[in-house]
């Protein structure tokens, strides 16, 4: 996985995968036919206590992993298992602040650090020497706070929003961190979700972000991460969810006025439906193997455009069950060991399938459905 929560390809480091192969248990002969809620709870609680060493290369993404665990617990109806105050204090300790008003114009971004190791102390002059605030960490921090019920209007978000504009490029895309980095749809989505959660669009130029997103739609109906690139499930999610959060597309796009819609919804529907493979799971791109997380990335897009009734839900459920670990959690492919990323998107997928006992999903935020801001 790269540095973000919306990291698309679950690209974990190679050493980690080798480790997994080493410990891979024999493929379960008959996977459970039920969503094993108690085992999932056990799995997440174990992770909450102590992360296994497989995640050491993910140190930098500490907030992201915490988001998967805490929001995952919420989906399982167990948000009370974490100490809300302790978590809020811990998350808020990652927030970066400018030393004074002037430095807001220095081009830096003052959001949340991904972890302690990327957090530098303020020097003797009171300056923050290295500001590693990252859009994805900021999204995850706010997501956690929102999920545990922390009132987001109480946090000091002024400098965060004003300085986020510094990350937006002329073409409408965002870099994740002010030092520079790849610009693509993942960070447009992070920025949109951050503005939405903080209930203020002062942090971005919506119109130019919209134009960037539209430039990413490919001829086959899906969206690539950058203009001209191949359609990809995660990128398509970032595009559609951002457009929804920004208010450019409404509910049930397909049965409304799609002829004048800014995107081509029927082509998009077509592409999305074709991502459900013969084994029932969703693939991220044409001719790639089915992978647990795309049940969410693509499933949520279908939900957002009002095409979720066309998913073969029985087949999808069956595929997801084959990725359910007997130790709790979900794996990327059938029969492998679980990891936090795929477990979390497994839970969101089951929530999308309206599994009993799971919190309902807010597809555009990728979080449990909570009261909207300002209500």
């Amino acid at each position: 996985m790269s540095e973000t929560a919306v990291s698309i390809d679950s690209d974990r480091s190679k050493s980690e995968e080798e480790d997994e192969e080493e410990y891979s248990p024999p493929v379960q002969s008959s996977p459970s036919a039920n969503f094993e809620k108690d085992r999932h709870l056990m799995y997440l609680e174990m992770m909450y206590e102590l992360l296994p060493y497989h995640y050491q290369s993910q140190e930098i993404n500490r907030l992201t992993l915490a988001h998967f665990i805490i929001s995952g617990l919420h989906f399982l109806g167990a948000r009370d298992r974490v100490d809300k105050d302790v978590v809020a204090k811990w998350v808020l300790s990652f927030q970066a602040f400018p030393t004074n008003r002037v430095s807001l114009k220095d081009g830096e971004f003052y959001g949340f650090f991904g972890s302690r190791s990327s957090q530098f102390p303020i020097d003797e002059n009171g300056d923050l020497k290295h500001n590693g605030s990252h859009l994805a960490s900021t999204y995850c921090a706010l997501a956690i706070l929102k999920v545990i019920g922390h009132d987001l209007s109480t946090i000091d978000s002024k400098s965060l929003l004003i300085s986020m504009i510094n990350l937006q490029q002329d073409d409408g895309s965002f870099m994740p961190i002010h030092i520079g980095g790849e610009t693509d749809l993942r960070f447009v989505y992070c920025a949109a979700a951050i503005c939405y959660m903080l209930d203020s669009w002062s942090g971005m130029d919506k119109e130019s972000a919209k134009n960037y997103i539209l430039n990413c739609q490919s001829y086959d109906g899906g969206f690539g991460l950058i203009p001209g690139s191949e359609s990809h499930g995660g990128a398509t999610y970032c595009a559609i969810a951002s457009l929804r959060l920004m208010g450019y597309i409404g509910v049930d796009l397909l049965s409304n006025d799609s002829s004048s819609s800014i995107i081509d919804p029927s082509l998009l529907l077509n592409w999305c439906l074709q991502r459900q493979a013969n084994d029932g799971g969703f693939q991220g791109r044409t001719n790639k193997p089915s992978d647990t997380c795309y049940a969410f990335w693509i499933g949520a897009v279908l939900k957002l455009i009002g095409g979720d009734a066309l998913i073969d839900k029985m087949a999808l459920r069956k595929f997801l069950m084959s990725c359910q670990s007997k130790y709790g959690g979900f794996s990327k492919f059938p029969g492998q060991l679980p990891d936090l990323y795929h477990s979390y998107y497994g839970y969101t997928a089951f929530s999308l399938l309206e599994e009993q006992g799971l919190s309902p999903l807010c597809p555009e935020l990728g979080l449990p459905l909570l009261a909207a801001p300002g209500i």
């Binding site: 102590l50 190791s117 001829y219 409404g250 049965s255 998913i311």
Partner: protein
């Protein structure tokens, strides 16, 4: 959760992983210290190299190296050899990090950064890419990087196309290669580059994709590419005028409010209180720039000098397929007027993809202004009786659905030939689902190109059968096929005046209004509206419609029956807001209100911001009801309904009825009851 290693089961494993963690931790903390103190010595840089070799995900280390490189460059006075060696070292570190994890965003980005500093050897980059793309031919980082390198070094698109040939020949399931091929070809075709004229090149591409599809019909790559090719074949860049109302050569009768004086004319009659009638232009694709300077109107109708043209679309969009303006007439001047319209008289009509409407087009119609009887009684419109069968021999219909600027201008021959040969080709694959679907799409495309009446519409039965088969074969995508079936059905129905006239009636109750009855046809989607612009009364009852999308073009529509359909909310009726003539609406027996709509999100963002409704009377007096019925409010307040039927929906009831009366004060009939005062 503090990242401490989990206890492994065997002691030696435990020791090994503990040692690994200790090493990583100490590297990390030393590195952080260097970064903090801005130390860019050789040893410090070497330390970040080690860290990245273990963990290519450490993006802080990549960023540190960028600062270090800048620092070194500032100290060496642009000695070209030294500069090169610094950048070479960066490329080497990236390469070894990519060997560790070739999906590392940070590593690929660092490489792009080095290249954008002007340091690159194209041969080396392409060799490296070949290596990575051999290992994983679908790696999208590598494909994106490849496009980046090609653009940076201005490598020819023809050479890159050759590369996709090689990759596809190697494995035709490689969708990434097909994708890149389509991107390159789009660009080459658009430039009309040598050897890339569409009529020469596209047939060759069909041959290529056939070899993939026929080798393994279950592979999606070829099918997607085929769909793209079909699009290239059909896609005519220049926007064209598809139809208009009034149409060329037609005669219309205009009168003031109320009914026409004892006339049973065969012509289209249009009554209006405002003394104006709509002029509708329907283009084959969304265009902008329709205005009184790009469309000129030559007539004796007075007061039509500075016409305002409106796009029929979402309020902020300035492009649309449908444009409308309103021509004024004086209902006391009984006279006959000739009206001449010239579309594209001066340049300025441009498609949303940036192509100009090139060929000016002219059409003429005649308008009769007739005497009127004032104050006809406001009777209730019935959908059950009062209909006379249309006189099928009437020639009026031909002029009503005459289509305007069609194929004449465009080079259609190679397109038709290409589609014909595809139809022939896929006839034999039509036992698979995708084979059937492709054949159905090809046949639809073929029908759209036919201009010869003798062979027009002959293949619709086949198309409908294909979609029927698909619905039976593939129930999980039933609704999709159902929609396509509806579209094909409507195309068929409108393909000739004979088939259309079977659905046409005259409604005695309203001055022999032309009524199109499409009830009980299990339609799930509306299509072919461009041929139905003349319709003033439309019966779509007892179908399976989810929305009224498409009806917004029917600017003459005054009575609409949508009872017994599957409308789930008022927002599905959104397109009707554009139909300003609509007086009678029947949405009884639908599913409105059955599914709760999450209104909370709408209160914080568009479309219904507080400021919009808090200023009008209903919003001020009854904010609670507006919040509850916001979607109904949004649609109803923009209509001028006289008659509404809403019974048989979850939403209906006393509270909703009283809300309707507030929003639509001019309503006369509600659910069959005449309203007081």
């Amino acid at each position: 959760m503090h990242g401490r290693p989990r206890k492994a089961s065997k002691p030696e494993e435990e020791a090994a992983s503990a040692a690994k963690a200790v090493k990583l931790r100490s590297l990390q903390s030393q590195f952080m210290k260097n970064h903090h103190d801005k130390i860019y010595t050789e040893e410090a840089i070497e330390l970040s190299t080690k860290l990245l070799e273990i963990n290519p995900e450490a993006y802080t280390a990549w960023n540190y190296r960028k600062l270090a490189v800048e620092d070194c460059l500032s100290r060496i006075d642009s000695d070209p050899n030294l500069v090169n060696s610094i950048f070479d070292e960066e490329l080497r570190v990236v390469e070894s990090a990519l060997r560790q994890n070739f999906k590392s965003y940070g590593a690929w980005h660092h490489r792009k950064w080095v290249l954008s500093k002007g340091h690159s050897s194209i041969a080396h980059e392409l060799k490296l890419l070949d290596k990575f793309q051999r290992l994983d031919s679908r790696n999208f980082h590598a494909w994106n990087y490849r496009r980046f390198v090609v653009e940076l070094t201005k490598r020819s698109e023809q050479d890159e196309l050759q590369y996709t040939d090689d990759m596809i020949n190697n494995n035709f399931s490689n969708y990434s290669a097909w994708h890149n091929r389509s991107v390159l070809l789009s660009s080459l075709l658009a430039q009309n580059a040598d050897g890339f004229m569409p009529n020469e090149r596209i047939p060759d591409e069909y041959d290529l994709v056939h070899s993939a599809i026929f080798t393994d019909p279950d592979d999606q790559s070829g099918w997607f590419y085929h769909l793209w090719l079909l699009d290239q074949t059909l896609n005519v860049e220049t926007p064209l005028l598809t139809s208009s109302w009034p149409s060329h050569g037609s005669t219309i009768i205009l009168s003031g409010a109320g009914c026409l004086n004892g006339s049973s004319s065969k012509f289209t009659t249009f009554c209006s209180e405002s003394g104006s009638f709509p002029l509708i232009l329907y283009f084959d694709q969304a265009v902008g720039g329709v205005s009184s300077s790009t469309v000129t109107i030559d007539s004796e109708l007075k007061g039509n000098e500075d016409l305002v043209w409106e796009p029929i679309s979402y309020k902020n969009s300035q492009v649309s397929c449908v444009w409308v303006t309103h021509l004024k007439y004086v209902s006391t001047d009984l006279c006959e007027y000739k009206v001449k319209i010239r579309v594209g008289n001066s340049p300025g009509i441009v498609s949303s993809r940036g192509h100009n409407f090139r060929a000016p087009y002219e059409f003429v119609f005649t308008a009769h202004v007739h005497d009127t009887v004032k104050d006809s009684q406001e009777g209730i419109v019935s959908w059950t009786d009062g209909f006379d069968i249309w006189d099928a021999k009437s020639k009026d219909l031909n002029s009503l659905i005459t289509l305007d600027q069609l194929q004449a201008e465009i080079d259609f021959k190679w397109r038709q030939e290409a589609i014909d040969s595809e139809v022939e080709c896929f006839g034999i694959l039509s036992d698979s689902k995708i084979g059937k679907l492709t054949l159905a799409r090809l046949l639809m495309a073929r029908e759209a190109m036919v201009s010869d009446d003798a062979v027009k519409g002959v293949r619709y039965e086949e198309i409908l059968q294909l979609y029927n088969d698909l619905m039976a074969l593939d129930s999980s995508h039933y609704q999709y096929y159902k929609d396509e079936h509806s579209v094909a059905f409507l195309h068929k129905m409108t393909s000739s005046s004979e088939s259309l006239s079977r659905h046409l009636f005259r409604y005695r109750g309203m001055n022999n209004l032309v009524c199109l009855r499409l009830n009980n046809l299990s339609l799930s989607r509306i299509a072919s509206v461009e041929k139905l612009l003349f319709v003033q009364m439309l019966d779509l009852s007892h179908n399976e419609l989810h929305s009224t999308e498409g009806l917004e073009a029917m600017q003459l529509l005054s009575c609409l029956n949508l009872s017994h359909n599957r409308i789930r909310s008022f927002s599905a009726l959104d397109s009707l807001r554009h139909v300003k003539q609509l007086k009678v609406l029947d949405v009884s027996h639908n599913h409105i209100g059955k599914h709760s709509v999450d209104t909370t999100r709408y209160l914080c963002s568009s479309p219904l911001s507080n400021s919009e409704w808090s200023q009008d009377d209903v919003g001020r007096q009854n904010p609670g009801l507006v919040t509850k019925y916001w979607d109904a409010y949004f649609v109803l307040r923009d209509l001028n309904l006289k008659q509404l039927d809403i019974a048989g929906n979850e939403i209906s009831g006393n509270e909703f009825s009283s809300f309707v009366l507030q929003v639509v004060p001019k309503l006369v009939w509600l659910d069959g009851q005449k309203l007081g005062n």
